[in-house]
Symmetry: C2
Subunit: 210 residues, 2 copies
Amino acid sequence: MDIAILGTGRVGGKLGPRWAGKGHRIVYGAPEVDCAEVRKVLEESGPNAAAASVREAAAASQVILLAIPWNVTRGVIESLGALEGKTLLDCINPIKPDFSGLSPDAAPSTAEEIAVWAPGAKVVKAFNTVSDATMGNPRYGGQKASMFFCGDDEGAKQIVRQLTDDLDMEPVDAGPLKNACYLESLGMLYIHLAIFGGWGGECAFRLVKR
Amino acid sequence: MDIAILGTGRVGGKLGPRWAGKGHRIVYGAPEVDCAEVRKVLEESGPNAAAASVREAAAASQVILLAIPWNVTRGVIESLGALEGKTLLDCINPIKPDFSGLSPDAAPSTAEEIAVWAPGAKVVKAFNTVSDATMGNPRYGGQKASMFFCGDDEGAKQIVRQLTDDLDMEPVDAGPLKNACYLESLGMLYIHLAIFGGWGGECAFRLVKR
C-alpha cells in the first residue's frame, strides 16, 4: 500500500517504520522535510520511505494517517485539496493540554468532525487506544494488544485490519463511525491510566474471550 | 460487609450470590419481596442473604449497589432517605432502549448525577464494564478480567477493591469520579461488541502489562 503519514511524532514515527518494514511504501508528510525528526524516521524506515510536503504526501497516497495534534487538524485537512475516495485513518486523541480530559471542541468525536471536513473520504478511527510503546512491540507475553477501530466504509476497515495484522496487533471492529466517541473515551482512559494511574506506556487493552 | 443490592436482575442477581458466598451479608432491596426473581436469588445466595423493601435494605447497609435501570434511579435514590456517609456503587449503563448509544440525559455521567442526588454519599462507578457472564466467572484462561472503577473517596474505593478481589477480578483504579464518563463509554463499547459485534457476553476487557 501507499500510505501517507502526516506527522512524524510519537505515533507517526512509530507506525511508519513498522509498516515500511512490512513492504508498504510510506511518504511522510511534514511542514519541514529537512529536519532532525524527519531524517530520524526516514533512517528508521529504510528504503520504502520518503518525505514530502504534507500536501504532496497526501496527494500521492490512497491511505492517509492523521497523526497530528487536534488543534491543527482542520487547517491541515483543508490544505490537502480533494480527498474523495481516500481512506483517512484518524488516530487523534483530542486531549486537553493538562491531560485532564477530552477537549470539548471535539464533540461528538474528532473522526466525525474530520468526516465533515473531508467530504467523500472514508474515515476510520484507529490506532488511538494503544501507546507508542505498544505500537513498537504489541506482544504482552503470548498475547497481542487489541486495536479497536470503527468506521462506515467496509473497504477502508479492511485496510485497517490488514495494517493492524501487519503490526501484530489484534483488530477489533467497534462498529460505525458514530462509535468513535467511545474509542476517544477509551484513548483518554488509557492516557489517564498511563500518566496518572502509574501504569506507564508498557500496557494495553486486550479483549479476552472464552 | 453489609451490602444492600438494589435490583435483582442480571447484575444484582449475579453479584449478590457471589458476595454472599464470600461471607458478606446481603440484603436485596426489591419493590416486591415475594416474587420469583427474589426467591431465586435468595436461594442462590444461601444463608447470608435476606430481602427487604428498597428503603429498608438501604437503611440497613453502609454499602449500596445500584443495579437498577437508569430511568428509575433518581426516584429510587430520593426514596431512600439520608445517604450521608454511605458508599454507593453505581454499575448503571444508561443505554438507549435500542442499544444504539448512551442516553443523552445521563451527561456527563450517571455517577456524577447520582452524587448530586445523594449529597454526602461516597459514589464509586464500578462493575459496569463487565458482563454478567464475567461476573459469574471472571477467569479467561489463566487471566482475570479487569474491573475499572473510579471515585473521589479513597475509603469507598478500597471497599470496591476488596469486593473486586472477592469476585476474582483485577481492580483497576481509573481515577476520580469525573472519569465515570469514560467508564460509561467503555460499558457502551462492551455492549456494542457483545450485541452487534458478535462477541457475546463471554468476553472481557483486560489491561495487560509487561
